[in-house]
Amino acid sequence: MNGLHFQRPGSHWLFYHGHRLGHLGCLGLVALSLMLGACVTYKQNAGKLLASTAMTVDAGMRSWATVVKMGKATDEQQAKVRAAYEKYQMAMTVADAAYTALVSLDDKSLWPLASSQLTDASTSLTTLIQSSK
């Protein structure tokens, strides 16, 4: 018997590679599958957050560039948005590295702080663009 199969006809036991699993074994398998699922979801959400933030800031900056081209932004406003965008770029570089470590090395230590700083920087930038338009 290879692999895992559940609920043989007429039986209430689970088998894994030919070994009958007790209740603790079953619970262990369920816990393991839940942990793996949670880990995959965590990584998926990290990637989606990173991509969404990049797309949102990109749209905001394109919108801001139109305002600048129309001559509706003062030099002071432009300097502030430029500084906020550069701060965002640094936060994105750090978050990108943290995401790569999370996915490639399963290193979760960097992501929480990096994602929080990225969210702060992108929110500051979009709020500044909104208030300057």
Partner: protein, 56 residues
């Protein structure tokens, strides 16, 4: 993405927010987003401040 963030996008971007929201929904509705797909999106949006102004 919260309702407040969507409203903020509309205020900041106007009608262009619809395209963005559509793209965001595509990302979030994907069952899996690979490392390569994420990197491709990041690469596409990696521009300097002056790039944005010059391309407007």
């Amino acid at each position: 993405m919260t309702a407040a963030q969507i409203v903020q996008l509309f205020i900041v971007l106007g009608p262009a927010a619809l395209d963005l929201i559509h793209s965001l929904l595509e990302v979030w509705n994907k069952p899996e987003l690979s490392l390569e797909e994420v990197k491709a999106i990041l690469e596409k949006t990696k521009k300097s401040y002056d790039d944005y102004i010059n391309q407007a």
